[in-house]
C-alpha cells in the first residue's frame, strides 16, 4: 500500500495543480508589489528607500522561512511532497498545517504517521479538511474586507481621536498575549527572547553612535539569527 500511496500523492497531476496555484500566488504578489512601488514613488519615496525596504525584508524573511521549510520535512514523509508544498506556501502557517493534518487524521481514528497504510480516500479527506479550516478568513475578506478597511481608514483619519490609540494598541495586545506564554514556558524561551532583545538594542545603539545607517536594515535578521542560534546554546547549557 505504501508504494502505491506515495506514487499517487507524489504524482505529476498533483505537482502540476500545486505548481499552478503557487505560480498564481507569486504573480499576485508581484502585481501587489508593483502597484505599491508605483504608489510609493507617487507619494514621494525614492527608489533607494524602496530598495532598502526590499533588501531588509528579503534578508529578514530568510530565517523564519527556514522554520517553515522544516515543516515540510515533518509533513512530507506522511503526505508526500506536493501537498505540504502547497499548504506551507499559501494561507495558514506552519503550526496550523502540522496541527490540522494531525487533528484530521486523529478524528478519522488514524495516527497521522499511519496514513500511508490507510489509503488515498483518507488523504483526500485530509486535503479537504485542511483547506476548509483555513479558508474561513478568506471568505470574511471576500465579503467584508472593504468594509473593514474603510472602518480602519476612518480610525486613522482624526489624529487626535481614540482611533489612533486603538490602532497602536493592537500590537500591545499581541505582546500581552504572547509574552506571558514565553516567560513561563521555560528558561530557554526566556533567554532566547532576551538574547534577541539585547542584540536589537545593541545594534540600534551602534547605528546611532557610529552613524552606520545601512546596518539598520539588518537588525531584525541579525537578532533573529542570534536569538535562534542562542536557543541551541541555552538548551545545551540549561535545557
Amino acid at each position: 500500500m505504501n508504494d502505491t500511496f506515495f506514487s499517487i500523492v507524489n504524482s505529476g497531476l498533483l505537482y502540476i495543480m500545486v505548481g499552478i496555484v503557487i505560480a498564481f500566488v507569486v504573480f499576485l504578489s508581484l502585481v501587489f508589489a508593483k502597484k505599491a512601488w508605483k504608489r510609493a514613488i507617487e507619494l514621494g519615496y525614492t527608489k533607494d528607500q524602496l530598495l532598502t525596504v526590499i533588501k531588509s525584508t528579503s534578508i529578514a524573511t530568510i530565517v523564519p522561512s527556514l522554520a517553515i521549510v522544516i515543516g515540510l520535512f515533518a509533513l512530507a514523509p506522511v503526505l508526500g511532497n506536493p501537498w505540504p508544498w502547497l499548504r506551507l506556501s499559501v494561507l495558514g502557517s506552519v503550526t496550523y498545517e502540522l496541527m490540522a493534518a494531525d487533528m484530521a487524521a486523529s478524528s478519522m481514528g488514524v495516527p497521522l504517521t499511519d496514513l500511508p497504510t490507510v489509503g488515498i480516500d483518507a488523504f483526500v479527506n485530509i486535503m479537504f479538511v485542511m483547506t476548509v479550516g483555513i479558508s474561513a478568513g478568506l471568505f470574511v475578506l471576500l465579503f467584508f474586507g472593504e468594509k473593514i478597511q474603510k472602518g480602519i481608514g476612518s480610525m486613522g483619519k482624526n489624529k487626535q481621536s481614540f482611533g489612533i490609540v486603538a490602532l497602536e494598541c493592537f500590537m500591545i495586545g499581541l505582546l500581552a498575549t504572547f509574552l506571558p506564554a514565553f516567560f513561563t514556558k521555560g528558561i530557554v524561551s526566556v533567554l532566547t527572547f532576551f538574547t534577541s532583545t539585547v542584540i536589537t538594542i545593541s545594534m540600534g545603539l551602534i547605528v546611532l553612535k557610529y552613524k552606520i545607517s545601512w546596518l539598520k536594515d539588518f537588525i531584525l535578521a541579525f537578532a533573529l539569527i542570534g536569538g535562534m542560534a542562542s536557543s541551541v546554546l541555552w538548551t545545551g547549557l540549561l535545557g
Partner: protein, 238 residues
C-alpha cells in the same frame, strides 16, 4: 496624482479578485485530485474528520481578519493569501514601517507594508520550492537536533527582536503611555500561565478576547488622559 480613495479602491478590488481566485484554486486541487482517483470523501466522512478542527480554527480564522487588518491595512489581502502571519508577516510589516518611519493607518504605511509583504511572500515561496527540490540532500541538516531546536524558538526570537520597536510609535504620531493598556491583560494571562497552564499553544485563540480587552483598557486610560497623543512636527522619512 490619484487620490488615496482611488488607490484604496484599486487595492480592495484587486485583493478581492485575488481572494476569490484563490478560494476557487484551493478547492479545485482536492476536488480534481479526488475525482481523478475516485477517492472523494462522503459528507459524513468529511464532517467526522473536520468537526474538531473547524470548531477550533474557524473562529480563529475569522477573528484574525479583524485583529490583523489594522496592522496590515491594504496589504491584508496579500497577507492572508500568503499566510504565516504571526510567525513572519507581522514582524516584516513592523520592520518595514519602522525603517520608513510611517504612521499606522496612513496611506504611506499601507503602501510600504504592501511592498514588504509581497516581497516577503515571494522569498518564502522561493525557499520552500528550493526545499522541495532539495528535499533529499537537505534532510540530514534540516532534521538535525540543532536546527529543530532553533526552529522551535523562532517566535520568542522574533518577539524579542520586535518588542523594542513595538513599544514605541513610528511616524508623526506618538501615542504616549500606550504600554499601560497592556498591563492588566499581561498580568491576567501571566497568572493563568503560572497557576493554570501554559498558553503558548493557545495564543491564536486567546487573541480573540485579549485584543478587545487591551483596546478597552486603552479607552479607559485615554479618557483618564493616562494615554495621550502627541503629533511630532517633522517630516516622516521620505
Amino acid at each position: 496624482m490619484k487620490s488615496r480613495e482611488k488607490f484604496s479602491k484599486e487595492m480592495n478590488n484587486l485583493g478581492r479578485l485575488g481572494v476569490l481566485a484563490m478560494i476557487i484554486l484551493l478547492f479545485a486541487v482536492p476536488t480534481i485530485f479526488g475525482l481523478y482517483h475516485n477517492a472523494f470523501p462522503t459528507f459524513g466522512e468529511f464532517i467526522k474528520a473536520a468537526s474538531g478542527l473547524l470548531v477550533l480554527f474557524v473562529p480563529i480564522a475569522i477573528s484574525e481578519v479583524f485583529i490583523y487588518t489594522p496592522i496590515f491595512g491594504s496589504a491584508t489581502y496579500i497577507t492572508f493569501i500568503t499566510g504565516n502571519i504571526m510567525n513572519l508577516k507581522v514582524p516584516i510589516a513592523q520592520n518595514a514601517q519602522e525603517l520608513m518611519n510611517t504612521t499606522k493607518g496612513t496611506e504611506e504605511s499601507d503602501v510600504i507594508t504592501t511592498l514588504a509583504i509581497s516581497v516577503s511572500a515571494i522569498v518564502t515561496i522561493t525557499l520552500i520550492a528550493l526545499g522541495v527540490l532539495l528535499l533529499v540532500p537537505l534532510e540530514p541538516i534540516m532534521t538535525s537536533s540543532a536546527v529543530s531546536t532553533a526552529s522551535a524558538y523562532v517566535l520568542p526570537a522574533l518577539f524579542g527582536a520586535l518588542v523594542v520597536g513595538l513599544l514605541r510609535s513610528t511616524g508623526e504620531i506618538r501615542v504616549k503611555g500606550k504600554v499601560k493598556a497592556g498591563i492588566v491583560p499581561f498580568i491576567l494571562l501571566f497568572l493563568v500561565n503560572i497557576f493554570v497552564m501554559n498558553t503558548y499553544d493557545y495564543s491564536g485563540i486567546l487573541l480573540i478576547p485579549m485584543i478587545p480587552l487591551t483596546v478597552f483598557f486603552a479607552w479607559i486610560l485615554f479618557k483618564k488622559k493616562q494615554i495621550t497623543i502627541e503629533i511630532i512636527e517633522r517630516e516622516v522619512s521620505k
